[in-house]
């Protein structure tokens, strides 16, 4: 089975990869959303909850695998890359080095998200949104937008299998937009039957489940 599902948005041929990144082969653009780096650090700072502090390394490790496999020219992080602005300080030497290695030799774009609304420590362009060809990249989808790539909602979808459901993070897309799943290790999800996602996605929208392989299904709408 392939490790991606290919579809087209305003003439751009895009691949939703099983890992949760979006690949635009023609322009060699890798797009990833909601990394939430430094999540465990923010949790302990804000609430004293000491979650296993391995999420940042794990997220970076999985991203690095995708970057090595695809060798993108441009990497677009679609916002909420850091769990908050302070969280970017929390990366240890090894984690920072990993990020720098990935950034070397390619263009890196940080789109601002609601968790990281300003510039972060790391190099790269800091933008509210970014356009390339027909496509516009932003953190939160706008209702009337077209050819839009966004994140923010952490969509997930549930498929009934036998007497239970298998729920996984997913891409959602229709003819107008794509919403990316969250890539960060410590992220939850919003089920695709939530009203806000229902309102954004048009009839005929498709969900691409991430995981070991991609599974494609009509967007479950409850």
């Amino acid at each position: 089975m392939s490790d991606g599902h290919v579809f087209s948005l305003f003439g751009a041929e895009l691949t939703a990869r099983a890992s949760g990144v979006l690949w635009w082969a023609h322009r060699r653009v890798l797009c990833v959303s909601d990394l939430h780096l430094g999540k465990s650090d923010r949790m302990v700072r804000r609430s004293g909850v000491m979650a296993p502090p391995y999420d940042t390394a794990d997220t970076l490790f999985r991203l690095q695998n995708e970057i090595e496999a695809l060798a993108p020219q441009i990497v677009i992080c679609l916002g909420d890359s850091f769990d908050d602005l302070q969280a970017s300080d929390s990366l240890d030497t090894a984690e920072s080095a990993c990020l720098y290695r990935m950034q070397a030799g390619r263009q890196w774009i940080w789109i601002e998200g609601n968790h990281d609304p300003g510039p972060v420590e790391f190099s790269g362009a800091h933008l509210a949104e970014y356009s390339d060809g027909p496509l516009v990249f932003r953190h939160i989808a706008k209702a009337e937008a077209e050819a839009e790539i966004s994140g923010h909602y952490h969509p997930k979808a549930a498929v009934p299998v036998g007497r239970r459901h298998i729920t996984r993070p997913c891409f959602l897309y229709d003819q107008h937009r794509v919403i990316l799943p969250a890539f960060g290790t410590y992220t939850g999800g919003l089920r695709s039957d939530a009203t806000v996602l229902w309102d954004l996605m048009r009839p005929g929208a498709v969900a691409v489940l991430t995981g070991e392989t991609c599974n494609v299904l009509p967007m479950p709408r409850g």
């Binding site: 290919v6 302990v44 296993p52 502090p53 036998g162 298998i166 290790t185 005929g204």
Partner: protein, 809 residues
């Protein structure tokens, strides 16, 4: 009367025209003991016995502040004791305050109690733990003389009991001469319970009341034979209704809430005389439960269909029959349930058993024998769970700075922690302080700091509020409220979140005896409408399933070895005889495995008699091993008695499949990634304080903000598999949901002896397994395949596959 009894008490007994029971006098004589365990059947003044030493003390003169603490697992019991104790106290001329303090007590009242404690305070383990977490705990408890622990037999089986004993260890430090009295129903091993409540190493004295008359207990005579499988017992309803009509008040016990709901529903369909029958279980709204309890006290009900929610609690004198529907699973609990009938001393309790299927008939007969022979079961207590210890350390830190040496010494006075190794204590302390991670530490944000004098304290005192909000060890699965749709819709009860997730609008299910239609989820509430007369489409809640105890399983196995088991009805004897003729009967000292072809599949049945949880785990492990052996397993189903696996290829090497080393290896490696381990982990992580159930000003707005505990488990398994919480989870897997100890027990008793019967068709004992619900599809490769199939089907059904499969250029 005894000289030990002060005059005021002797007079009171005389006034009442009562004679103190022997065990009540013994308690008075033993009032100097550091700890004392009273074992007595229900209805013979056990609670009064617990309070007599306190009353004897208090009549001697006024006592400033708290004198006696009473702890029970039920809030309702605390409230009830308050009412029942005030009478005697007044009659003895005592000018004391008796108050309860539970989750239901108002904040004002709680503040007042802290400032000016009553002489007798009635509370629960959680409320007590909370009290010990305050920095003025020493002042609140100074002067405390005695503590009465009610329903010790029930508490000793749960983490609530472990928490209570740790709290008492802390209190004992504040009040060195505090004396303990435990009150227990009849138990199999009194020494063990005594060890549980003792302040180690000081021993605990045991006082045993005579056991009372033998109960009148038998199978309910039912005309129809028991069905082959299932747990509904619908076939018994006409007879059950007849019993209800012939008695004053009947308690009809069930093992699960789902079974209680279904039985109640069916009961009312045949209840032509409209006998007032109600339902009571832990998922119903509190208001509804209280209505039922009030109606019961008022004598307005003829029967209550109930679950373990009525195992403990208030004495209802007019109950004259207990009916147990479904196999009792555990002799001790059966005896306690029987005791709910007839709360009068020295009159026999009456109980009838209703097996729901054929294997349960055997189990019921075995249980009846055990009751007659006073052979109660009980798994030996293991060491105290360390997740509870982690919470205790945090509670201690809330109360104030402590020395690790002192706390360790305190903890070791609690029976189940008496053998706790210092290193195991340190790992818990380290977890509380820094998270205890191997590769990276939260040094900047540690929760506990060591001061210059070596004491541990909270880094941020504000953390105390969060810790206090999460005190407790009751492992509730996440529940959602169920309400009637519409403004101010009536609350019906709760369902598990996992159950709610399987519902689609239009589904109907049973709750509180009503069939309701699922309409949708709104602000974390399940909205439903009434659906009259419809048959529910979906079974209600998953719920806990008790596993048949080791002793009871062994009795069943021994029963099979009798030439002719005369206590069984004729149709059962025929069934067993046929099994003996076609295959073999399972034995204690050997493991019976059958394999046979069935409808183009191959079935393998292992008669493990190790209880449902262990056999479920065995099913998981065996299906994995069958996959490795190329047998292509498809699914399995487990009961308390056997596990059956279906595969595409036949099993030839049963001994290889069941090799102990392979099974243990599977537990260590493959099972580690399984959902049941994740569920165990979640329980431990919540208790130990890694996951907070409650947060100040909490509001779940966007669900994407929270992520599941499974992710934490996966992360630890990958990066820190020796973390203390992973160790605790593995310890937990020896029992409970995973119950690997029972698999070990099965391997031990069969000691490699295996009877593998290769049959040409299914055996009489295997037949019911094909009718069992709850077949588990094999995970792994098969699950991915099913997912791919289902998503492809959905794409095709919607016509979307034609559009998206051919990308536009």
């Amino acid at each position: 009367m005894s000289d030990a009894l002060p005059a005021a008490l002797t007079d009171w007994f005389t006034q009442k025209g009562w004679q103190p029971h022997a065990h009540q006098l013994q308690v008075i004589e033993a009032r100097g003991s550091s700890a004392c365990l009273v074992i007595a059947p229900t209805g013979c003044g056990k609670t009064l016995a617990g309070f007599l030493p306190s009353l004897a003390d208090l009549v001697q003169g006024p006592h400033a502040g708290l004198h006696t603490l009473y702890v029970s697992p039920l809030k309702a019991l605390a409230a009830d004791i308050k009412r029942n104790l005030r009478g005697p106290a007044e009659e003895m001329g005592l000018d004391i305050r008796i108050e309860d303090r539970t989750g239901d007590t108002s904040a004002t009242q709680k503040r007042r109690q802290r400032a000016d404690p009553p002489q007798i305070l009635l509370t629960t383990p959680e409320s007590l733990a909370l009290l010990t977490s305050y920095d003025d705990a020493e002042r609140i408890f100074s002067g405390l003389k005695r503590v009465v622990i009610d329903e010790v037999h029930a508490l000793s089986e749960t983490k609530r009991g472990d928490q209570l004993m740790l709290s008492l260890a802390a209190l004992q430090h504040i009040c060195p001469d505090m004396r303990r009295i435990g009150l227990s129903a009849t138990v199999q091993d009194p020494e063990e319970i005594a060890g549980f409540i003792a302040c180690h190493p000081t021993p605990c004295q045991i006082i045993q009341a005579p056991p009372g008359p033998l109960p009148d207990i038998a199978m309910l005579q039912i005309d129809a034979p028991a069905p082959w499988s299932g747990g509904g017992a619908g076939y018994a309803i006409p007879q059950v209704l007849r019993e209800v009509a012939q008695h004053n008040t009947v308690l009809i016990f069930h093992n699960t809430r789902a079974q209680a709901e279904i039985f109640f529903h069916k009961l009312w369909q045949l209840n032509e005389d409209n006998l007032p029958i109600a339902i009571h279980h832990g998922s119903l709204s509190r208001a509804q439960r209280e209505r039922v309890e009030a109606a019961m006290v008022a004598g307005a009900l003829r029967a209550i269909v109930c679950t373990g929610s009525l195992d403990l609690g208030l004495d209802w004198g007019n109950v004259d029959l207990v009916i147990q529907v479904g196999a009792p699973k555990n002799v001790k609990r059966l005896v306690q349930r029987i005791g709910r009938a007839n709360h009068r001393y020295n009159s026999p309790s009456k109980a009838r058993l209703v097996p729901a299927n054929r294997f349960e008939v055997v189990e019921c007969v075995a249980a009846l024998q055990a009751v007659r022979e006073h052979d109660l079961d009980g798994e030996p207590m293991g060491p105290g769970p360390r997740d509870v210890l982690c919470q205790h350390i945090l509670i201690a830190a809330c109360a104030g700075p402590f020395h690790a040496d002192d706390l360790y010494a305190q903890v070791m006075t609690a029976g189940r922690y008496a053998q706790l190794a210092r290193a195991d204590f340190e790992s818990c302390l380290e977890f509380c302080a820094t998270g205890g991670y191997a590769l990276k530490a939260y040094d900047r944000w540690r929760r506990l700091l060591q001061t210059a004098d070596g004491k541990w304290q909270l880094r941020d005192p504000r953390a105390a509020q969060r810790i206090r909000m999460n005190i407790g060890t009751i492992q509730d699965s996440d529940r959602l409220k169920v309400r009637m749709r519409g403004r101010g819709g009536r609350a019906l009860g709760e369902v598990e979140e996992a159950f709610a997730a399987t519902l689609v609008p239009g589904d109907s299910f049973l709750i509180g005896g009503h069939v309701v239609r699922y309409e949708g989820l709104r602000e974390l509430t399940v909205e439903v409408t009434k659906q009259r007369g419809k048959k529910p489409k979906i079974a209600t809640f998953s719920g806990t399933k008790f596993a048949t105890s080791t002793q009871l399983s062994q009795r069943i196995l021994k029963g099979f070895q009798q030439k002719n088991w005369m206590e069984l009805p004729a149709y059962m004897r025929d069934w067993i005889a046929l099994q003996r003729c076609v295959s073999l009967l399972p034995r204690v000292d050997s493991l019976l495995v059958e394999s046979f072809p069935h409808e183009e599949r191959f079935a393998t049945v292992v008669y493990g008699f190790a209880g449902r949880n262990a056999l479920q785990t065995l099913g998981l492990l065996l299906s994995k091993r069958m996959e490795e052996a190329g047998l292509a397993p498809l699914s399995f189903v487990a009961t308390d008695y056997a596990v059956m696996l279906l595969s595409l290829e036949p099993l030839r090497d049963a001994a290889g499949l069941l090799a102990p080393a392979g099974l243990r290896d599977g537990l260590e490696t493959w099972l580690a990634g399984n959902a049941v381990m994740k569920r165990s982990f979640r329980g431990c992580a919540v208790i130990a304080g890694l996951i907070e159930r409650n947060m100040p000003g909490q509001r779940k707005s966007g669900r994407q903000a929270t992520f599941s505990s499974d992710i934490l488990y996966d992360t630890l398994l990958k990066y820190d598999p020796e973390h203390v919480l992973m160790q605790i989870t593995r310890e937990e897997a020896r029992r409970g949901l995973v119950d690997f100890d029972r698999i070990e027990e099965m391997l031990r008793r069969s000691a490699g002896r295996l009877d593998h019967k290769e049959l040409d068709r299914l055996s009489p004992f295997a037949a019911p397994l094909f009718l069992e619900m709850g077949r588990v599809p094999v995970q792994g490769a098969a699950e991915e395949r099913l997912l791919a199939q289902e998503t492809a089907r959905l794409m095709e059904a919607s016509g979307l596959n034609k559009i998206v499969m051919a990308p536009l250029q």
